[in-house]
């Protein structure tokens, strides 16, 4: 735990009475951006979504989700709430859904009932591809007009839901960038906001330490449950995460035990009590620090947190990951100066300054917090400037544990 003196120092800065300029939404949330989104509901509509949004400034997504004739209910539910959460994220002023057939229309009702401004194009009812693109562009123009009227207004800092992520980790991730991000996470929580810690597979080995910080027994049990669940899935497919970590590259880099590695990853969520454990893409019902069950796959994790309502994310990276999001700003923090310089086009901040003696963990944490507030109010991240808009659909991973599917031994 941080010593008492440092604790007070940061808390004084994170005054819940501070306000920042955000977009107020009818859905009840506050947005850091004002996107109009074109969202294909199935993979085959991705091309039409792209053609509709081309040249308009609208955000768009493409993905590979093809519904099957017989869909596992848990998988369908996971994907449906991912999509509906994503398009109702407070950063989205309005959304144009692109469906292949009319049967997808219930998604429009669900999204509109949540208070979101939304419209729908059904390709099979629009006179072919060209007709669908033309109709889509017409409807999109109306949504763009609506969105243009949105203005920022004073909002509490506590309106922020910060997604935290690490990718392309190296030996320094747990020493510089993650602990510094953890300082900023603590500041966000102290200001009344929410911080999401995810990547279940990377918490394996630290479950007991996290469980000790849970606000009650039920949350502690949930922490153990999601971690052992993911371990069991991976084992069912013949691999052993706990046994394989730290990997030889990690050991060479200085990580000695799995608990050390996972603790280094968990650091980015900060030190505050853990209030809730969420399934993938489920919106938190509390403020404070929460844990979400997501795969370690970078993009699936980001999409899960975004679908839960994160309007901004901080992503630490050791080797340099360029990814962003179609609808939320992703602040990229390098663990060391070498990568920060090498990939300057993609990196927003360097925690390598700690190694140079130019910053302490606390002062770096403050820098990150200040950057979060600036980016929330409109400063563009490198990922946004470069147009990174990564998106991936996460499938339900636990069927094999439910006794539903026996894992195949490999397609070869």
């Amino acid at each position: 735990m941080i010593s008492g003196e440092e604790h007070t120092g940061l808390r004084a800065r994170a005054d819940p009475m501070d306000t920042i300029q955000l977009y107020r939404r009818a859905t009840g949330g506050w947005g850091t951006r004002n996107h109009v989104l074109v969202m294909p509901l199935v993979a085959s509509a991705s091309g039409v979504a792209r053609a509709i949004s081309r040249g308009t400034g609208a955000a768009w997504v493409e993905h590979d989700y093809e519904p099957e004739a017989v869909e596992l209910p848990e998988n369908a539910a996971r994907i449906a709430r991912t999509f509906s959460g994503f398009v109702t994220n407070p950063n989205v002023a309005a959304v144009l859904l692109v469906a292949d057939i009319a049967q997808r229309a219930p998604m429009l009702d669900a999204v509109q009932s949540a208070g979101q401004r939304a419209d729908l194009v059904v390709v099979a009812e629009s006179g072919g591809i060209a007709g669908a693109v033309a109709r889509g562009r017409e409807r999109l123009a109306a949504l763009l007009g609506d969105a243009a009227a949105c203005q920022r207004e004073p909002a509490p800092v506590g309106a922020l839901m910060l997604g935290t992520e690490c990718g392309g980790s190296d030996a320094l991730s747990g020493i510089t960038a993650n602990p510094a991000l953890g300082e900023a996470s603590d500041a966000v929580v102290d200001a009344g906001g929410t911080v999401i810690l995810a990547e279940t597979t990377e918490l394996i080995g630290a479950e007991h330490l996290l469980a000790r910080r849970a606000v009650n027994r039920a949350v502690a049990d949930d922490i153990y449950r999601i971690i052992s669940r993911y371990e069991a899935v991976v084992r069912a497919y013949g691999e052993d995460i706990r046994g394989a970590n730290p990997a030889p590259g990690n050991i060479e880099g200085g990580l000695t035990t799995i608990e050390e590695k996972s603790l280094g990853a968990a650091k980015k969520g900060g030190t505050r009590p853990i209030r809730q454990v969420l399934e993938y893409a489920v919106r938190p019902s509390t403020h404070g620090l929460v844990i979400m069950d997501t795969p370690g796959s970078d993009i699936e994790q980001m999409v899960g947190m975004t679908a839960a309502g994160s309007q901004i994310a901080v992503f630490t990276t050791g080797r340099g990951t360029p990814t962003g999001s179609p609808i939320i700003p992703v602040i990229k923090i390098a663990t060391n100066a070498h990568v920060a310089a090498r990939m300057a086009d993609n990196i927003d901040l360097s925690a390598g300054l700690i190694l140079e003696g130019a910053e302490t963990l606390q002062s770096m944490g403050r820098r990150i917090y200040d950057t979060i507030l600036a980016v929330a109010q409109g400063a563009l991240t490198k990922a946004e400037q470069l147009g990174h808009r990564e998106f991936a659909v996460s499938r339900y991973p636990f069927a094999v544990l439910d006794g539903i599917a026996t894992p195949p031994t490999g397609v070869r």
Binding site: E68, I129, G168, E239, G296, D298, P322, N346, V411
Partner: protein, 342 residues
């Protein structure tokens, strides 16, 4: 209507001797995190096609292997004149290994690593230079005649569940193609693994409609034994490819297995193209009348005896001319997923 199979086709002759009916420069991200850079590299460059997929990160071994197999298959496709692999650096399907695997199959290839290059912008610059080198080298591939015996026709599984008169059209098409020495790769959903050492999966329900034709089974996106580039592509007959039920993943698998062109029955859902192999959409009326301008050939509610000829004529046309989907740059890609991501 004359015999469409007598139409003369032309294409490019690759250094391996294989014939291609397209001349793409393919930009392949080895992981989804590199897809943005791959698209930016290809943007606005004539002949360049970037693929986007959602794989390569946090995959278990079986999926990582399948992803690699697909990407190698697409990267070494005869319709592809040269391949640029764009890698991040830390992913499951190591970009450099992918590049080398493509090179080993005697495909023109280049490699750009985002981390090595120093970020997205540097990778885009390096990627564009690599594409220029590939194009210059690819210009040396001579044009030449392409016979049906040089072609592999991929067929999506959807027609297998059509009513008999429509299914018969496809059987007619397949028989005619086989008679002319073409290789036909038929996707068959519902495959069953035999075990870790199995090289070829069983197909759970072999298609009855094709039962009278001799056939061999290959895996999803699998190599076709005895029908590869070096020999110039002696016909391998009918191959049944174990495939997932989802159509875009089927198309991707067929393309990765080397199908030059793909036949897709459109009786539901939307038409969708494929990155390296043009798709001939065979519209099945009445549903496909919704897409009258998007399909390459329409089969009536009551197909007549000329229907297989019309389909083959459309095939021949597509071998010579760009489809509407290609002109719009509209194609989808999906890789069948075996296990959850980690």
């Amino acid at each position: 209507m004359g015999d469409a199979l007598t139409v003369r086709l032309r294409g490019r002759i690759r250094p391996t001797g294989a014939r291609g009916i397209r001349h793409h420069l393919l930009v392949v991200p080895s992981v989804l995190c590199a897809a943005q850079a791959a698209s930016a590299i290809a943007e606005g460059i004539p002949g360049a096609v970037a693929i986007e997929h959602q794989h390569g990160c946090a995959e278990l071994t079986s999926d990582a292997g399948l992803t690699e197999q697909i990407l190698v298959g697409l990267g070494t496709h005869p319709n592809v004149a040269g391949t640029l692999v764009v890698s991040l650096g830390c992913e499951s399907v190591q970009g450099l290994l992918l590049y080398r695997a493509i090179e080993r199959r005697r495909q023109r290839a280049e490699f750009v690593g985002i981390q090595q290059a120093g970020g997205t912008l540097a990778a885009i610059r390096a990627g564009r230079e690599a594409l220029a080198r590939l194009r210059d080298a690819a210009d040396e591939d001579p044009e030449g005649p392409v016979g049906w015996g040089d072609l592999r026709i991929g067929v999506e599984a959807a027609w297998l569940s059509l009513p008999a008169p429509h299914a018969a059209v496809f059987v007619g098409v397949i028989r005619r193609l086989l008679a002319r020495g073409a290789t036909v790769i038929q996707a068959v959903p519902g495959f069953v693994e035999r075990g870790p050492s199995a090289t070829v999966p069983e197909i759970a329900t072999p298609p009855e409609a094709l039962a009278s034709l001799p056939a061999r089974t290959i895996g999803y996106a699998g190599q076709i034994p005895g029908d590869r580039a070096e020999s110039g592509g002696a016909g391998a007959g009918l191959l049944l490819m174990a495939a997932p039920a989802t159509r875009i993943a089927q198309k991707t698998g067929l393309a990765a297995a080397g199908a030059h062109v793909i036949l897709s029955a459109l009786a539901e859902g939307l038409p969708a193209g494929c990155p390296v192999a043009p798709v001939v959409h065979v519209g099945i009326a009445p549903y496909a009348r919704l897409f009258a301008r998007d399909v390459e050939v329409m089969v009536d509610e009551r197909p007549d005896a000329e229907a297989p000829e019309a389909v083959i004529a459309a095939l021949a046309t597509v071998c010579r001319e760009e489809t509407a989907a290609e002109a719009l740059g509209m194609f989808e890609m999906a890789i069948h997923r075996i296990a959850p991501t980690m």
